[in-house]
């Protein structure tokens, strides 16, 4: 009789299974290939068989509806190209698309904020577009200079700007009028701005609610102000934080003063100022036109206007963002799909006047100078500020430094828990640490 086959022991069974699965998982998770890519040499204009391009972005609000309409219009004019749009909240977009690229499921086209372009360029998940821009005939001449340059990282172009949205001063006409002020003449300089706030405060109205919580809302006002006072957030190489200089302190102290003198409410969190503005509780709102023009426009009975930020410091400056198109890295580039994608980029750039309806200012100069644009009162009023828009420096990982270090420190001060200079110094030290870590982390990818 042959010896009995011994059944596997429990331990061996568990071990075997785990080992097999681990091995397969390790193989699946090998590092991504970030070697330089050569895009196929294709021109613009696609006349091949029908195809569908995948387009990912974070346009989940009213702007998404306008983008979808544009896509339909594009399809009418290019029946053989369908663009399938996937919108998800911006934070998930920035988490998900790199994974999609690494696992070979990359969408064809993406739209992202300019301050994330450098980071994703360093990751190698988006591809350089210098030649592509040439081929579809876009150059600096077509765009306002700052915006066009905000797509260039390390001397290479990674994105094509769609729009730009400088933080602007939204004012509530009814509140101003009720306080005995001229609703058609919002304050444009420091003296008149402070005076207006004081007149409002005397009547018990906190005119300008300064957000103290919520990463984006808290920090952008500070960014604009310290630029106005002549400061810089970081040095040019992106290795040192400079926001704790005298200009930064002055900016933060000016903000703090608004709160201490009851011109702003205390403990204002993210959307409060917006809600208050819509309910005629405050007079001024600093924010990006991309979201606000659309949002405020949808409130019936709200009487508002918008102008560039007042000049509080010595030189005009306003924080700005810009939506920019990128092409995601593919395992293999299909010339047909590339051609279709370029066709789309070229078309939407030319037709970006329709996009202005969503609120932002189109990035293209000819569109901004067109008579159609002049008919959009809010958008054309803030377009005045275009020469003075400022962006975060184009350093990989810069958004993390801003949102996890600088903005919480500002929040501490505006919640009256910290001294401005101490908070800024502490944040600068932490920021230097993170900047250095980022520099090391992305050094190889950027070399």
């Amino acid at each position: 009789m042959p010896p009995l086959p011994t059944p596997p022991t429990r331990r061996a069974f568990l071990g075997l299974g785990a080992a097999a699965v681990t091995a397969s998982a390790l193989v699946a998770c090998s590092p991504p290939d970030l070697s330089p890519v050569a895009l196929p040499d294709v021109g613009e204009g696609y006349d091949g068989p029908p195809l569908t391009l995948k387009f990912w972005n974070g346009l989940t609000g009213g702007d998404g509806a306008i983008m979808r309409e544009l896509l339909l219009q594009f399809r009418d004019e290019h029946p053989n190209i369908t663009i399938e749009m996937f919108a998800m909240p911006w934070p998930s977009f920035y988490q998900k698309f790199p994974s999609a690229v690494v696992s070979g499921l990359a969408p064809d086209i993406g739209l992202m904020h300019n301050f994330h372009v450098a980071t994703n360029a360093a990751r190698g998940v988006i591809v350089p577009l210098d030649e592509a821009a040439d081929r579809i005939g876009l150059s600096e001449a077509n765009f306002s200079e700052t915006v066009w340059r905000s797509g260039i990282v390390n001397g290479r172009r990674y994105s094509i700007p769609l729009d730009v949205w400088p933080d602007s001063l939204f004012y509530n006409r009814r509140v101003l009028e009720n306080a005995g002020l001229d609703p058609d003449d919002p304050p444009r300089d420091r003296a008149s701005y402070e005076e207006t706030l004081e007149i409002l405060a005397e009547q018990g109205i906190a005119g300008h609610w300064l957000p103290a919580i919520d990463p984006q809302g808290v920090g952008r006002g500070f960014d604009s102000l310290q630029w106005q006072f002549g400061g810089e957030l970081y040095d040019e190489e992106g290795t040192r934080a400079l926001f704790n200089g005298p200009e930064g302190r002055e900016a933060l102290e000016w903000q703090l003063e608004r709160i201490l003198s009851d011109q702003s409410k205390r403990n204002v969190s993210g959307g409060d100022a917006n809600v208050a503005f819509k309910n005629d509780l405050n007079a001024f709102l600093w924010g990006g036109p991309g979201a606000l023009i659309n949002d405020l426009g949808s409130v019936e009975d709200l009487d508002w206007g918008v102008v560039p930020l007042p000049l509080i410091g010595e030189q005009p400056a306003s924080f700005s963002g810009s939506h920019q198109f990128v092409i995601m890295r593919q395992r293999a580039f299909d010339p047909d799909r590339m051609r279709a994608a370029f066709t789309f980029l070229s078309w939407i750039s030319e037709n970006s006047i329709a996009w202005a309806g969503a609120g932002p200012i189109p990035a293209r100069r000819d569109v901004v100078e067109s008579p159609e644009f002049a008919e959009l009162p809010a958008q054309s009023s803030i377009a005045e500020a275009l020469p003075d828009v400022r962006f975060y420096p184009l350093i990989p990982g810069i958004f993390d430094v801003q949102s996890t270090i600088l903005y919480p420190a500002l929040s501490d001060v505006l919640l009256l828990n910290a001294d401005p200079q101490e908070a800024l110094d502490g944040a600068a030290e932490q920021a230097n640490h993170l900047l250095e870590e980022n520099r090391q982390k992305y050094a190889e990818a950027m070399s």
Binding site: P7, A18, P98, S269, N279, S411
Partner: protein
């Protein structure tokens, strides 16, 4: 008689095992070999799922924590225990922020667990009594638990907002002139986070207690009453001992759930003020999924995990010692 009922009766009579034993004694090798691997085959589907979704990620996480790991960069340099050592280096920014977030987590556990253990128990005792409409009330108290954290986040954000929230508005009408900063200043942030969490999750513990209460032998109560025990004595000497295993479960699971708190502070306070309410999980998520410093985030989560294993073990020991006493 059909085959299946036959087997059923045999099994019921206990004849089947006897005959099987006899047969194997006779040397029925084929049957025996088949039997040996059968349990493993039954286990296999679970083991595969467990392996792929729990075991492998866990082991892979240890591997990641030994590297400077960014999923999207080709270079993932080996740093050995560097990520762990850094967390114990008091001069490192990461360590300071990590322990700050661990402190927030610890405080939340400390503040919330007593309420989450005691209030649902009281509620379960009440809902266990017979009164009209008790099923309705059971549903009412359980209802918030079915909501997602995003929903309760938005809901309470609107209610508790300092300047435009409903609660401060009504407090104002009641004559409270001071604006209460529910979401932006200590100690109010803790009141908010604990209060919202208790409101949101008490239904779950209450249901577990209810099940436990219904498992207690009613004759014990009758005996106690015959002996002249008061209501308090009944609770202390019959109900509590009867609930001991349920209590152990509730305490352990509540500590673990509270230590994993993320959504409430992410959505309500954003970690403010001064990162006081940024919990460990929130910081780990920020490091791992926003900054993509995954090696470091993995190291942090292992330290949190070890701590929680320690606390749970301690918990079991304490309960067991009490049981012996």
């Amino acid at each position: 008689m059909t085959a299946s009922t036959q087997v059923g009766t045999q099994a019921a009579n206990g004849t089947a095992p006897t005959s099987a034993r006899r047969r194997s004694a006779d040397g029925g090798t084929r049957v025996r070999a088949g039997n040996a691997s059968a349990p493993y085959l039954f286990l296999a589907p679970f083991m595969i799922i467990f392996g792929v979704f729990v075991l492998v990620p866990a082991v892979y996480g240890i591997w990641m924590s030994l590297h400077n790991w960014d999923f999207f960069l080709p270079e993932r340099p080996w740093v050995g225990l560097g990520n762990y050592l850094e967390l114990f280096d008091p001069t490192s920014l990461t360590a300071v922020q990590f322990w700050e977030s661990m402190r927030a987590t610890g405080l939340f556990v400390l503040f919330s667990v007593p309420f989450l253990v005691v209030i649902p128990l009281g509620l379960a005792l009440m809902l266990n009594r017979v009164f009209p409409g008790r099923t309705f009330f059971r549903a009412v108290y359980f209802a918030p638990y079915v909501l997602g954290v995003a929903v309760i986040g938005v809901l309470w954000q609107n209610l508790l907002n300092a300047n435009v929230g409903l609660i401060n508005y009504y407090l104002g009408r009641l004559g409270v002139t001071e604006i209460i900063p529910w979401l932006t200043a200590t100690p109010w942030v803790w009141v908010t986070l604990v209060g919202v969490t208790v409101w949101w999750t008490l239904g779950f513990n209450a249901v577990v207690y209810l099940a436990g209460l219904q498992g207690i032998d009613t004759t014990l109560y009758e005996a106690a009453r015959v002996d002249g025990a008061s209501r308090w004595h009944e609770f202390w000497h019959v109900t509590l001992p009867g609930l001991r295993p349920v209590l152990l479960f509730v305490v352990t699971i509540t500590i673990l759930a509270s230590a994993n708190m993320f959504g409430q502070s992410y959505l309500l306070t954003g970690g403010a003020p001064s990162n006081e309410t940024r919990t460990a999980i929130m910081y780990i998520a920020q490091t791992g999924f926003e900054q993509f410093r995954m090696g470091r985030a993995a190291a942090m989560s292992y330290i949190l995990c070890l701590l929680l294993i320690g606390i749970s073990a301690l918990n079991f020991l304490l309960f067991r010692r009490q049981e012996k006493n």
